[in-house]
């Protein structure tokens, strides 16, 4: 025999002690009733290498790459989508990062850190449903290659059911002539504007088209600074690190 779920809602976490919990759960009920299931707040899985060895006590970060319209130019901002650490058996629990508005569509990659060692793997995922999200929950790394899955390869995660897996963001970060920019400031967590468009807070990592002209404005409290990155770009450079000390605004 099997149980078949009826038309009415199945169950309440009915705390008889605290009926107010039912009210608190209302937003979750509304979210659950949408066609597109929300991303899970936590994601479990295991990391092993190609020999099947568990990888305990490693830090896992799932990065997302959000596209921002910056005066007609290409800009993609890298953010941590989920992060966590494996336990002694290599099992992990990833929790959502500080994304304010998780996107339906974004590019993602996974990095794994253990001490000085960093491993990167792109996600071969079309995560329409949750969970398990294929590709994240069972990560396998090749120790023969030092675990490296080459450099940051970004692939599309397309959670929009109206689009096919192929109809994803064009991975301009992979295919195009882009340059990676890392911005740190003192004091930290300053607002960052790129060509007048706010793209996040420092330290931030983003990718821009090499051929563009860009000015970065940094601001926190009464302190600010302005940096042009055109001068920093060169044929040999694929990555620019900027550390800027903010100063008082001139009146």
């Amino acid at each position: 025999m099997v149980l078949v779920r009826g038309a009415i809602s199945m169950m309440k976490k009915a705390s008889v002690f605290f009926g107010v919990l039912c009210l608190l759960s209302m937003p979750l009920i509304l979210i659950a009733s949408e066609d597109q299931p929300p991303y899970p707040n936590v994601l479990y899985g295991q990391v092993v290498d190609t020999r099947g060895e568990r990888l305990p006590e490693v830090t896992i970060e799932v990065h997302s790459l959000d596209f921002v319209e910056v005066s007609g130019s290409f800009c993609a901002v890298e953010r941590i989508f989920m992060e966590g650490t494996t336990d002694e058996a290599g099992w992990f629990m990833l929790e959502k990062g500080n994304l304010e508005h998780p996107r339906t569509n974004f590019l993602a990659k996974v990095t794994i850190h253990r001490g000085e060692e960093t491993r990167i793997k792109y996600l071969s995922v079309n995560a329409v449903n949750h969970p398990p999200i294929k590709g994240i929950q069972e990560l396998v790394f090749d120790p023969e290659q030092g675990g490296a899955m080459l450099d940051s390869e970004w692939v599309a995660i397309n959670r929009d059911p109206g689009l096919s897996a192929e109809t994803t963001y064009k991975s301009e970060a992979v295919a195009g002539e882009v340059i990676k920019v890392i911005v740190e400031t003192h004091p930290s967590d300053a607002r960052v504007k790129l060509n007048g468009v706010e793209i996040g807070n420092s330290g931030i990592t983003f990718y821009v088209d090499r051929s563009g002209n860009y000015e970065i404005e940094l601001e926190k409290g009464g302190l600010s600074s302005r940096v042009s990155i055109d001068d920093l770009m060169s044929e040999e450079t694929n990555e620019i690190e900027i550390f800027e000390i903010l100063t008082e605004k001139k009146q």
């Binding site: 025999m1 038309a7 976490k13 009915a14 336990d87 099992w91 969970p131």
Partner: protein, 176 residues
């Protein structure tokens, strides 16, 4: 309103009963019968805990397959299995029995002191299957307990409750 009153009375009876028993978990099925037939509605299932526990409730069909009933993925996408001491939960009777075979079946409840990452993974996989109405082919908890990922103390299984019944697809009572 009468339903709410009866719930409250039932709850009082439950906490009274559990107070005089040594059970960490109390499983109560007020409308329980020994036999269910195709088309019957699954009875409401109440369960409560005396100490903080992570709880997982399954329906086990006659084929030994498992369907996760709690944590409930429809209303609670966060899939929180944690119950505070004294808390009572209700699985509402929104499932209907169906199937073309007969045999002994169960509602099984497991209580763990902690949810390891692997147990969380198992839960998430089972929720994924439950959302699609799929049964798990084997006992996931037994497999977890046999694994060498953690020692048995860290796994922390402290309670198990079983309610057995007979499912009869053709409507005939197996005892008659």
């Amino acid at each position: 309103m009468p339903f709410k009153v009866s719930l409250f009375v039932l709850f009082l009876l439950m906490i009274t009963a559990s107070a005089f028993s040594g059970d960490i978990i109390t499983l109560t099925i007020p409308q329980a019968t020994q036999t269910y037939r195709a088309g019957d509605i699954m009875p409401a299932i109440f369960f409560s805990v005396k100490k903080d526990l992570h709880v997982y409730v399954f329906h086990v069909n006659a084929g030994g397959e498992y369907l996760l009933l709690w944590p409930e993925p429809y209303h609670y996408p966060e899939m929180d299995s944690f119950l505070k001491a004294g808390e009572t939960n209700l699985i509402e009777p929104v499932y209907r029995f169906t199937g073309d075979y007969s045999g002994e079946e169960q509602f099984v409840l497991f209580g763990f002191q902690r949810e390891t990452n692997r147990l969380g993974y198992i839960k998430q996989t089972l929720v994924y299957e439950a959302l699609r109405g799929r049964y798990h082919k084997e006992n996931p908890i037994a497999r977890y307990l046999k694994s060498d990922d953690y020692d048995i103390v860290k796994k922390g299984l402290v309670a198990k409750k079983i309610f057995r019944f007979y499912y009869c697809e053709n409507g005939k009572d197996p005892d008659k």
